[in-house]
């Protein structure tokens, strides 16, 4: 099987990249497009560190063959905000102590964003369900849950 050109919208920009049919989306994002915010913690869809949003849903990019992203809209943590215009989730993760080692943080934020994009009044259970596939070993999830809840409130106020 030969290399193919993948065309998709990545963080708002039309992106073309040559990939092997066996490449997984996580490796293309990390190794070919240098988006190291997409972390790789297991490669088997068990830790959630590689979570990105594809066509509105949070997915484990290590389980998605890269060519499945053809024509898709993909968002990574790098595309949601930065200095001067942080996403409310990034703000509340930073302000409420929801970050420790930081390895799970990008995937955690993306899972939470997929939730809040659809539902800005999530219950505690909905927040927990949304991030249940994202393993964090540092925080005990307490401050993460609070940060997601606080971001939802900020988003509601901003509307």
């Amino acid at each position: 099987m030969s290399a193919k050109t993948l065309t998709f919208t990545l963080n708002g920009e039309l992106t073309r990249v040559v990939v092997e049919p066996s490449d997984m989306l996580v490796d293309v994002l990390r190794d070919k497009l240098n988006l190291i915010g997409v972390k790789k913690g297991c490669g088997k869809g068990e830790c959630g560190a590689c979570t990105v949003i594809m066509n509105g849903d949070a997915v484990n990019s290590c389980l998605i063959p890269a060519l499945k992203a053809e024509g898709a809209v993909v968002e990574t943590v790098e595309g949601i905000g930065g200095p001067g215009k942080y996403h409310p989730l990034q703000e509340s993760f930073m302000d409420l102590g929801a970050i420790q080692c930081g390895f799970c943080t990008p995937g955690m934020i993306m899972s939470a964003k997929a939730l809040l994009d659809k539902n800005d009044q999530p219950t505690r259970e909905e927040i927990r369900e949304a991030i249940a596939g994202n393993i964090c070993r540092c925080t005990g999830y307490v401050k993460i849950e609070k940060a997601v809840s606080a971001a939802a409130e900020k988003i509601r106020e901003g509307k």
Binding site: E78, T105, I127, R128
Partner: protein, 782 residues
């Protein structure tokens, strides 16, 4: 209480922005031009001799640049843990492994490694390596391994069959006589599981070997400076030619990389030497599970004696731990288990005897709590049993017997502070201890219970291990401040709290301080981030360095302002004469002339004034830390489904005496994370092996750690019994959240069901069977 401007404030972490935007660089992200990818061939057998190994086909595969085995790598014995660099004489570190050997001793043991142009090619090449093994008898349980008929896993076990290093013995008073004087004696043996740190970033290293022989390694180590010493020994290279650093972030540690990151560093270096190109080695999650240190499982026996009124009079502990196939921290862990286990209660007659044993399973090493959780689940269970036997409330019995500041204990440093009584009082209030005993309606299928567990820990590893710190504070020519400390930030907030300490001492805003950390080239030697020591010990060096440079600044400023330095103070980067009001905020202006002679000078102006006169202010902190006990009391409320055996933790009230909390939000985060890890230890986490020694739990799906949906209500309560030995009175907090949790939960399960467990984790199956057995025996006797 003193008013501080930076210390004691929950400031936003200085690494938060990089981490929240995906910009933070970890070892597994790090790349270099021309970099190759390393992969490791691992043993499928628990114990075997390699009869032959043929790598010719692998070498021929296009894209393969190096293949290494025991035949072409250094034959230098080492220990993957930093113990090989910090064992205190006359004890000697156990050195029992090579990068590769011709004998493999556990499933996952390293056999060979390949460097290739991609991970895929490297993996393909591994399949082409032909290895012929001769299987040897294997043993997996430490008690079995001590029997005469068990296979010898290593030569030179001086203390007994397969016993690793030295047997640890601690004693105070006369324990034999003590037990004779007791009215109540309870003795029970407990079984502890092998569990895993499961830090989110797997073991990883990138190695570069320059033409002149200089080696640079970016890795996940918690201890760059000791790791450099280990690599120097393995490769016979002067440590001055080796640089080890974090890039700079590390995806968690929990003890798994105190020293080498399993064997990621030496394998990457050996491959890079062979290939002449940089090599990155990143463990897969499965490799991390099967070939990187675990927590020691094993057996702990507690014998506790008390007088009629409940006063503890004699305590004897014994531990036999499963050290696995190679020695990591297998002599220190039983040491801490005994020392911490004996230090919680005032018991005049006490003794401990403990050691680790070689077996053919994955090596056990350091994990958060370092032996202490293995001590406290058994001890706190027996203390609860004693409360029932003497007829006292478990809290009353504990309050009667806990250590007080100044009491004699078995540790080689004084107990100068304890907030344990306050921890117990505040935790009990949070959980509603008074509800205990009236939680359940008759006939209920789901039973509630409340239990408690208490304990202590260390704030560094001195005097058990070599433990010292250096720090350098340099005032730059523009008055900004550069701090250098050799400790990594493994997620615990080191790179925020060390600058907080320096900023407080120097009277500057936090933003003025930038930190170099986790790098042997830009920082002075430091023993590293472990043992709950980083803030307490490295922080003490930072405070010393900052005080040193502050003194120099005030002396120079005294000359400049023509007053005695004692009259000067610093606030917001302005050195001013105390007792006089500042008429304006001079910060940053470089001008503070008030018209009646200079009353103040900014650091910016002073530093540049000095620079033009050939002077820079450099503060040096060189310290050997004392040690101080953090204390904690956890209260757990559980609900046990008697029909399914499922235990649900409803709430944990976790009260911790941490001394001064330098950054309270970070302290809470440490406690909350530790509590949840402790819930996993109590209820679900365990690595079991099949009859051939193959691990049954080697992925995140199989290894049952708590997820966001398993989090109970956690009330992190911070008690601040400041210790005179710590920076601003701080003590350690990194490990303690895990220490008492399993004991508190097991005691709560007993309170709910009346069934006592002598083994964790309290899995649904285990609890179901025990409840059924209890019911049957009740029926048969009634």
């Amino acid at each position: 209480m003193k008013n501080y401007s930076v210390v004691g404030k929950s400031v936003r972490r200085l690494d938060a922005e990089e981490k929240a935007t995906g910009k933070a660089v970890f070892s597994s992200d790090f790349t270099l031009p021309g970099m190759l990818y390393g992969k490791v061939l691992r043993s499928p057998y628990a114990h075997a001799r390699i009869v032959s190994i043929d790598t010719t086909e692998a070498e021929k595969l296009p894209g393969v640049k190096a293949v290494i085995t025991y035949k072409n790598t250094p034959r230098e014995l080492f220990n993957t843990s930093a113990t090989m660099t910090f064992t205190v004489p006359a004890q000697k570190p156990v050195l029992d492994q090579y990068i590769f050997d011709n004998v493999v001793r556990y499933v996952g043991d390293e056999v060979a490694a390949v460097a290739a142009i991609s991970e895929k090619v490297a993996e393909e090449a591994l399949q082409l390596i032909k290895v012929e093994y001769e299987e040897l008898p294997a043993v997996f349980d430490p008690l079995e391994a001590m029997k005469p008929e068990a296979p010898d896993i290593h030569a030179n076990c001086k203390e007994g069959k397969n016993i690793i290093g030295e047997i640890i013995k601690i004693s105070m008073g006369d324990v034999e006589k003590g037990f004779k004087e007791c009215d109540h004696v309870i003795e029970k043996t407990f079984k502890l599981p092998i569990v895993k740190q499961v830090q989110m970033e797997t073991q990883a290293a990138v190695a570069q070997v320059e033409v002149n022989g200089k080696i640079t390694v970016w890795s996940t180590t918690q201890t760059p400076h000791p790791t450099r010493m280990i690599l120097g020994k393995i490769f016979g290279v002067p440590v001055s030619k080796i640089r080890v650093l974090n890039p700079p972030y590390v995806g968690g540690g929990f003890g798994v990389r105190i020293g080498l990151s399993a064997k990621a560093e030496p394998i990457a270096v050996a491959l890079a030497m062979q290939a002449g190109k940089p090599v990155r080695v990143v463990y897969s999650r499965e490799e991390d599970f099967m070939a990187s240190d675990t927590r020691h499982g094993g057996y702990v026996t507690v014998k506790l004696g008390a007088k009629k009124d409940g006063t503890f009079h004699a305590l004897d502990l014994k531990a036999v731990l499963n050290g696995g196939a190679y020695c990591s921290f297998s002599t220190e862990t039983p040491g801490v288990l005994g020392a911490m286990g004996l230090a919680v209660y005032r018991v005049p007659n006490q003794s401990y005897y403990g050691h680790s044993v070689y077996t053919n399973v994955i090596p056990a090493g350091a994990m958060r709590g370092f032996g202490n959780p293995q001590a406290m689940f058994p001890i706190e269970s027996v203390v609860d049993m004693m409360a029932e036997e003497v007829g006292l409330d478990p809290l009353e019995l504990r309050l009667k017997n806990i250590m007080r500041a100044g009491d004699p204990w078995c540790l080689p440093y004084p107990c100068q502070s304890t907030g344990l009584a306050e921890c117990i009082e505040r935790g009990a209030k949070s959980i509603g201890w008074e509800r205990r005993g009236s939680l359940n309606q008759p006939g209920a299928k789901k039973l509630r219970g409340i239990g408690v567990g208490v304990g202590t820990h260390v704030s560094n590893s001195w005097p058990f291990c070599v433990d010292y710190d250096n720090a350098i504070v340099t005032i730059q020519q523009d008055g900004s401040i550069h701090l250098a400390s050799g400790v990594p930030d493994i997620g615990t907030g080191t790179s925020t709290v060390l600058p907080q300490l320096a900023a407080e001492v120097l009277g500057v805003r936090l933003e003025e301080v930038s930190l170099a950390f986790g790098d042997t080239q830009s920082t002075p030697f430091d023993i590293g981030s472990h043992a709950s020591r980083t803030l307490y010990a490295a922080g003490t060096a930072v405070v010393a360095a900052a005080e040193d440079v502050r003194k120099q600044l005030l002396e120079y400023a005294g000359n400049f302002l023509k007053v005695s330095p004692e009259r000067l103070d610093i606030k917001d980067s302005v050195i001013y004469i105390t007792g006089q009001e500042l008429v304006e905020d001079c910060a940053g202006t470089g001008l503070c002339n008030t018209g009646e002679g200079r009353r103040s000078v900014t650091l910016q102006e002073l530093a540049y004034h000095a620079h033009l006169r050939n002077k820079q202010f450099i503060g040096v902190g060189r310290i050997v830390p004392e040690n101080a006990p953090p204390w904690h009391a956890h209260f757990a409320e559980v609900e046990v489904d008697t029909e399914t055996g499922q235990v649900k933790v409803i709430k944990v009230a976790a009260a911790h005496d941490v001394g001064k909390a330098i950054n309270p939000a970070i302290v809470e985060g440490q406690i909350e994370g530790g509590v949840l890890m402790g819930v996993g230890y109590a209820l679900s986490e365990e690595i079991l092996h099949d009859a051939k020694g193959r691990p049954l739990h080697n992925s995140l799906h199989k290894y049952m750690l708590p997820t966001a949906e398993d989090v109970p209500e956690i009330d992190a309560i911070v008690v601040e019994a400041e210790d005179p030995s710590g920076p601003f009175g701080a003590k350690g907090v990194g490990e303690t959240g895990l220490v008492p949790t399993a004991g508190a939960i097991a005691n709560a399960v007993y309170n709910a069901t009346g069934v006592r467990f002598y083994e964790i984790p309290l899995t649904q199956e285990k609890v179901f069977r025990a409840l059924k057995a209890a019911k049957n025996s009740k029926n048969s006797t009634s």
